[in-house]
């Protein structure tokens, strides 16, 4: 009986909030989404761009600085980066807000000012998430592109006298996206489930923060609900990555007869 309810998305009432766990979660989802979707796009775009830049200028100063910087950023724990950015921009410079999604006087503001206020509060958390993801993507992109650059058709393109930028963008780039697609497919759970630490630090009312609260308060219905959603997302992410393979790479086909 109880299991059937769980399967139907009814997790029971939260011990702490005395409300159904599912509605509690649904209300948090938009906050997490605005944070993670922005971060993921920003991270992917800058990551891919930086990866391409360092391959086009391979072994140049730019490449070396980029590669080393991305390794360092990649190695810095996210939560410490967040704390340090807060220290720099929010505490010392008093430039960005410390936490929360909006200012105290939010309700008194005009509509454009409200939007600006929201965006202003998004900057730091999104940057923390995007930086880490950009560094990882840039590293991966560089590896993949360098691997592809040794292929014969790339050599052929060079032999035809095409400029290096064109070779990389037109010929190599098309064959590199497979692993990137995998990574982003696998990051789907993170998209909704778990910018845990960043949400906690910036007091962002998202799913991740909710999960941590639930774990520390032993609020079992909520724990259960968040874990089920997270598990579903992992499966969905894997599926999405597989489907994207077929989209990105025409050689992969789910239709056995056509593939054969």
């Amino acid at each position: 009986m109880w299991l059937r309810n769980v399967a139907h998305g009814d997790f029971g009432e939260s011990f702490e909030y005395h409300r159904p766990a599912s509605s509690l979660i649904l209300e948090r989802v938009p906050y997490t989404l605005q944070l993670t979707v922005l971060a993921l796009f920003l991270g992917a775009i800058t990551g891919v761009a930086l990866g391409i830049l360092s391959v086009v200028r391979q072994y140049s100063l730019v490449d070396q600085v980029l590669t080393f910087a991305s390794l360092i950023v990649y190695s810095i724990p996210e939560f410490w980066l967040a704390v340090m950015l807060i220290l720099l921009f929010a505490v010392s410079l008093n430039f960005f807000p410390l936490s929360q999604t909006r200012s105290l006087d939010y309700l008194l503001l005009s509509t454009p000012a409200k939007i600006a206020d929201r965006l202003w509060h998004l900057v730091l958390p999104v940057c923390v998430l995007a930086l880490g993801s950009a560094a990882g993507t840039a590293r991966y992109m560089r590896n993949e592109l360098l691997g592809v650059l040794n292929e014969e058709y790339v050599v052929a393109a060079r032999a035809r006298g095409l400029p290096e930028t064109r070779v990389v963008l037109r010929h190599a780039l098309r064959n590199a996206p497979m692993p990137i697609v995998t990574i982003y497919g696998l990051e789907l759970p993170f998209l909704v489930g778990g910018a845990v630490v960043v949400e906690k630090i910036f007091a962002w009312p998202g799913m991740g923060a909710l999960a941590v609260e639930a774990v520390t308060a032993r609020d079992y219905p909520v724990i259960l609900a968040t874990s089920k959603i997270a598990a579903l997302l992992v499966v969905a992410g894997n599926l999405l990555a597989d489907v994207m393979y077929a989209v990105v790479d025409p050689r992969v086909s789910f239709d056995a007869e056509r593939a054969g």
């Binding site: 072994y59 490449d63 070396q64 590669t67 080393f68 390794l71 360092i72 990649y74 190695s75 810095i76 724990p77 996210e78 939560f79 410490w80 704390v83 340090m84 807060i86 220290l87 505490v91 560089r142 590896n143 360098l146 691997g147 040794n150 759970p189 489930g193 778990g194 845990v196 630490v197 906690k200 630090i201 999960a211 941590v212 774990v215 520390t216 032993r218 724990i223 968040t226 874990s227 997270a230 598990a231 997302l233 992992v234 499966v235 894997n238």
Partner: protein
């Protein structure tokens, strides 16, 4: 690589005079070649030394800083002191010396990471070896069970278990280890699947060696080099996870110092004492960076499929 001697390849073409290279030295075992190539990667070597230094510091921490870490005295005079010669990393809200706590924390963070890795590695290796060696139905069942287990997000599971069990360090290590072995299992299974076709395994079977000895003596030692790279990466991940858990208040609990819970304490005092969160984080970043560099170096050496790359 500038200092690497050119390896001569002798190609036997009929009618061509065979070029005789320098005498092949007897000690050029794969292992030695690997060590030499690793040593040529200076960044990786420096990183390895940093790790060794940190481990040494962690081991010697009780000797280096004999003061009682949890003792709280003269709080009002000693709290929130900025970094100085007597307190290189400053003091925290209870007037404790953060330098000593950070050194102790090194031991906690490193040993949690490494021990959890060992747990995961043993479980994963045995699981993967059995699946790969026995094959057939057992393999199928084991791998499907593994797939089901992987469908559950790892980090979430750790968070959940650590929170529910209010873990002390030993249990924390077990939780982290027992949730991280799946990649190793897959890797080992793959290696074993190809290794068990080789002649030396057939020879071992021909002389009547029992299965468990074939696995332990012949298959696992040959599969281990592939596991080594992922093991270093695993330590990186696990140290990060431990720090994160402690930061969230569900990992290593104060007063035992860990870099994660020190940073957490620092976050609360960010306005008055930046140094509390700053120094443990630097140490954490250096550790993670070093492990990443070493694992890059190892991969270049041990994975023949990887390209020879010359970047960091």
């Amino acid at each position: 690589m500038p200092n690497e001697p050119v390896e001569r390849v002798l190609v036997d073409i009929p009618g061509m005079p065979v070029e005789i290279g320098p005498p092949v030295q007897a000690f050029r075992t794969p292992w030695r070649i690997a060590v030499r190539r690793f040593a040529a990667n200076r960044l990786a070597v420096v990183a390895l030394m940093v790790i060794l230094l940190l481990s040494l510091i962690a081991l010697l921490a009780p000797v280096l800083v004999p003061a009682d870490l949890t003792a709280i005295e003269h709080v009002m005079q000693k709290r929130y002191l900025p970094p100085s010669w007597s307190h290189p990393f400053g003091t925290d809200e209870f007037g404790r010396d953060l330098y000593s706590r950070a050194l102790y924390g090194a031991g906690i963070s490193l040993s949690v990471g490494v021990l959890a890795m060992l747990v995961a590695l043993s479980v994963g290796t045995i699981y993967g070896a059995i699946a790969g060696y026995v094959g057939g139905f057992v393999d199928n069942a084991l791998m499907r069970a593994l797939d089901a287990f992987t469908a559950f997000p790892k980090l979430f599971l750790i968070l959940l278990l650590a929170g529910v069990f209010k873990a002390h360090i030993g249990i924390l290590i077990l939780i982290m280890g027992l949730t991280s072995w799946t990649d190793t299992a897959r890797l080992v299974r793959g290696e074993i699947l190809s290794l068990k076709q080789r002649e030396f395994v057939e020879a071992a079977r021909a002389i009547g060696l029992p299965d468990y000895l074939i696995i332990l003596r012949h298959l696992i030692p040959n599969a281990i080099s592939a596991v080594l790279v992922s093991a270093t990466l695993m330590v990186v991940g696990l140290i990060g996870v431990e720090a994160m858990l402690s930061f969230l208040g569900i990992g290593v609990h104060p007063p035992i110092p860990s870099w994660g819970n020190m940073i957490e304490a620092g976050q609360d005092a960010l306005f008055i004492a930046w140094w509390i969160a700053f120094f443990p984080g630097i140490l954490l970043a250096i550790t993670v960076l070093s492990f990443n560099l070493v694992s890059d170096g190892l991969r270049d050496v041990l994975d023949p499929k990887a390209l020879t790359r010359r970047y960091v």
